[in-house]
Symmetry: C2
């Protein structure tokens, strides 16, 4: 399993992804799921993947090598597309290309063609965007009404996002809330694991403000987890008991 979350607020973009993959619970490995494509001052793009690792790696290879655009005759890759909208279409085409190559064989073996992508970033003068791209290659985009998108196992980490994230939250708060959301998922789902990768991009800066890996020994993340646990305990302890529980 996987947990990746992307948050697009007025000040910029936060993307966070774990690194645990598993093919059965006795076959666990660490693979980077959050990939950064960057030319500082020109573009910065984060690609987070969930689902079948073989499909994800093939799609990423295509995004680097490029795909021929029949209309323009150009080889398009993530380093030369001109907007995030074009980048989302390129990712979708790469996923469809891999489906053409591997989909039938996977299905013959009873496997589903399953891969999802969070794609966020900014290119040149074009607007900063965050997309969720489905296995079929189509996509949806984050908006001020719904400023975050998740792939993988979304449920454990969703309540804190629902309560705390809005479009006008500061970027550094969005980062902190995203890390709390990741912590909730790590606590409840063994198939999501450290280390986690973090990308933060401020709007119109066209380079990563933070590109950081958090491992077991990360003092800040350990402190955050500890403080959050204590704060939750204090929070429920501060709530009065129900009036109908007076006799309990």
């Amino acid at each position: 399993m996987t947990y990746c979350v992307g948050i697009l607020v007025s000040g910029g973009l936060v993307m966070i992804a774990d690194t645990r993959t598993n093919a059965g619970i006795d076959n666990i490995a660490t693979f980077r799921k959050l990939h950064v494509f960057e030319t500082p001052g020109e573009r910065v793009i984060g690609v987070a993947t969930s689902g079948n690792l073989s499909i994800s790696q093939s799609v990423l290879a295509l995004l680097q090598e490029g795909i021929l655009n029949q209309e323009t005759g150009q080889i398009e890759n993530l380093m030369n597309v001109q907007s995030m909208f074009q980048a989302a279409h390129l990712v979708g085409r790469a996923m469809r290309r891999v489906y053409e190559m591997d989909g039938q064989a996977l299905e013959q073996h009873g496997l589903t063609f399953d891969m999802k992508v969070l794609l966020g970033g900014q290119i040149g003068d074009a607007p900063m965007r965050l997309y969720h791209i489905y296995s079929e290659g189509n996509s949806i985009e984050a908006t001020p009404d719904t400023p975050y998108l998740q792939i993988g196992e979304p449920k454990y980490g969703k309540p804190i996002l629902d309560r705390a994230i809005s479009h006008d939250v500061e970027v550094r708060d969005a980062l902190k809330i995203g890390l709390i959301s990741m912590d909730s998922t790590l606590q409840s789902n063994l198939s999501v694991g450290l280390p986690i990768d973090v990308l933060v991009v401020r709007r119109d800066e066209l380079e990563a403000a933070v590109s950081h890996r958090i491992g077991d020994d990360d003092a800040y993340f350990r402190d955050l987890r500890d403080r959050w646990s204590k704060a939750l305990r204090a929070a429920h302890q501060s709530i009065p008991h129900p009036p109908y529980a007076e006799l309990l």
Copy 2:
């Protein structure tokens, strides 16, 4: 969808269930999912159900009418079984009986025979117990290591249980934490809805200490939701920003 949680701590039992049923998102109704079978001083049993409403209602009818026990020649129902262990077996047999009646027809129409039960309570001198009974009629039991069980949509409400519930938590705290768990689920899943039903039984009292329905107008639950939201906000605000986010 449904959310029901049962918590068995040293001092007693808490069961909480929502009441929303849906057959498609435009066919929503309210049905009680938490049923109490009680003879004060002799037995008190809570039955919470998730899954197909038709199956649940048939099973409940059988639990009231009774099922012939071939070994003893007795008609057994929830009001005459002698222990919670027997009660769990009775529920399992009722589910298998309904599967015999309806399972094949459901499967012919592409439907899964899906029903789960939380069964908690105490009978006479026998120990207080809490079971999760599966569609197949088999069951697992809560233990001091894992003192809570959930059916329906468990994920949104699980993080607070994982952090705050242990066997030695007081009953009234278990109730409060269970209500917070329900609130998290209500916040994130539209198919779980008010009113919610609550049953609390103190160990060895053999009658309900609390049997209460919480509706939209329940002042305490509204206050709990409001306080919990504010406390979560205060909690994440009190956590420092990451050291690598100083420039954000």
